[in-house]
């Protein structure tokens, strides 16, 4: 059993990192969005191996909708919606590679070199029950704050994207934005 979960852990880990890289390598925007989702699913799998079953599944559940929206936004807002043509759109590429590698090395060094207390989850604990009690018990205020923040964000997002102004449709009579590139 331990061997199986070890193998699964390494499979999911490699899958998470490789699919994460593929997001920025692939030429198709729908593929990019769903590679990212594959990365999330792999991390969800790791969370399930770590006994955080509920969190892993919720992560997978959330990402299905979010990545679908992302794929559609990619198709809507990219200048080249055909999607299977080369699509490398990068700037400050070398700096970014150095920054990414630097972040990885620094964080991995912290993970490998720092001393963390070795206190695993004791057997017999049901993490889902624990989480539920915590969310609606001692930490209810934090949970509620997250809920209120989400509500505020929802209102803000609707205000940002809504076309309807105070006196009806805001863009009445105006033109839709064209797909042509505007002059720099």
């Amino acid at each position: 059993m331990n061997l199986i979960s070890d193998i699964l852990f390494w499979v999911f880990s490699v899958a998470a990192v490789v699919t994460g890289l593929l997001v920025f390598i692939t030429d198709s925007m729908v593929r990019a969005a769903y590679w990212l989702m594959a990365s999330f699913v792999a991390v969800g799998g790791i969370l399930m191996i770590l006994d955080a079953q509920f969190l892993g599944l919720i992560l997978i559940l959330m990402m299905a909708g979010e990545m679908t929206i992302m794929a559609i936004f990619m198709v809507m807002f990219m200048m080249n919606p055909a999607g299977l043509n080369p699509m490398t759109m990068v700037h400050q590429h070398r700096t970014s590679i150095v920054a990414g590698a630097g972040a990885f090395v620094a964080l991995a060094a912290v993970g490998l070199l720092a001393e963390f207390p070795d206190r695993p989850v004791p057997p017999g604990v049901d993490p889902t029950v624990d989480l539920g009690v915590e969310l609606l018990g001692e930490s209810m205020l934090i949970f509620e704050s997250a809920g209120v923040a989400l509500l505020a964000v929802m209102i803000g997002a609707v205000a940002l994207v809504s076309k309807r102004g105070r006196y009806g449709i805001a863009e009445e009579g105006s033109e839709e934005p064209s797909l042509e590139m505007s002059e720099e």
């Binding site: 599944l57 919720i58 559940l61 299905a64 909708g65 990545m67 679908t68 929206i69 999607g83």
Partner: protein, 305 residues
């Protein structure tokens, strides 16, 4: 459960139930169109499948081939994953894990991904429109779907499907939470894109995401879609109708009867109710089903207290 036994069990369940769905579909079609001779309902699905298996496959210009193939395979795989969380009889389950109902919900919400990939892969207009429709239907149906499903866990005080069935020993959830089952069935139609909500690959889009496929690809796509319908019906039976609980008959038979009853209801709706329009579906999801599902959560929570 032994992994090999589990694979065989899920495989057998899927094959038998998909065949039954096809038979019911043909029988209902015969009944509704005033025809006679139900005997052909048993053979018609097989001949249809054979015809599709022999048909020539069409291809489009520069498809996203991997995504196109992955769509149907993922859809069928998700149906299998969803079925693993459901106990078919006392003790007969593949993975009745503590968060089983969340596993089911996660698998079903990924249906969106499978359908969008399938529509995107064809590199053609109608399939892409079908993919957009699936995203719209899935996003407006997803929250009420998850809410009514998770509400059934409140009386059970557990997210495991086995515990949810066990909690319905005295009274089924369909009586305890009368709002739950109708909302669940409507959203289930959306996620299996069946009947009045057959929008992503409906006839009004010339087949939508399946407009550009034929032959074995179409056969696999239809089988996967039917197995999603079956897994939704099975969860409906387990979460609202007491699953394998029931007098006289053995548990597994009750489970089959209830699952196929719900599946037949959804199939029947496809032959009797006109296809809904996109606007009304999105409006229904956000302005009717979502508040109603919230009422369901609050009322059953209050009753459990």
């Amino acid at each position: 459960m032994n992994p090999l036994v589990a694979v065989v069990l899920i495989g057998v369940v899927m094959v038998v139930s998909v065949y039954l769905v096809a038979v019911i579909d043909t029988a209902v079609e015969t009944r509704v169109s005033g025809g006679r001779g139900y005997a052909r309902a048993w053979l018609a699905p097989i001949s249809r499948a054979a015809r599709l298996a022999l048909q020539r496959r069409t291809v489009t210009e520069r498809p996203d081939a991997e995504a196109w193939v992955l769509g149907p395979a993922l859809l069928g795989g998700l149906a299998a994953v969803a079925l693993t969380s459901i106990p078919f009889a006392p003790g007969v389950d593949v993975a009745d894990i503590p968060a089983g109902i969340v596993l089911f919900g996660a698998a079903l919400l990924q249906v969106m991904v499978a359908v969008v990939l399938h529509g995107w892969g064809a590199n053609s207009v109608f399939p892409l429109l079908g993919a957009f429709r699936m995203a719209a239907v899935g996003l407006s149906m997803g929250i009420p779907f998850s809410l009514v499903l998770i509400t059934t866990a409140i009386p059970a005080e557990s997210l495991s499907v086995g515990a949810i069935i066990a909690s319905q020993e005295g009274v089924w959830n369909v009586l305890r939470q009368p709002i739950g089952l109708p909302v669940y069935l409507i959203t289930a139609l959306g996620f299996s894109f069946w009947g009045p909500l057959q929008l992503p690959d409906g006839a009004d889009l010339a087949g939508g995401t399946s407009a550009e496929i034929s032959g074995t690809a179409l056969l696999v796509w239809r089988i996967a879609r039917a197995s999603i319908l079956v897994s939704l019906a099975a969860m409906g039976a387990a979460a609202f109708l007491g699953g394998y609980l029931g007098p006289w008959l053995p548990g597994w038979l009750w489970m089959i009867v209830k699952t196929m009853g719900l599946a037949a209801l959804m199939i029947w709706s496809g032959h009797r109710i006109a296809r809904a329009r996109m606007e009304s579906v999105v409006l229904l999801g956000w302005t009717v089903l979502l508040p109603v599902a919230l009422v369901d959560v609050f009322v059953s929570g209050a009753l459990t207290l």
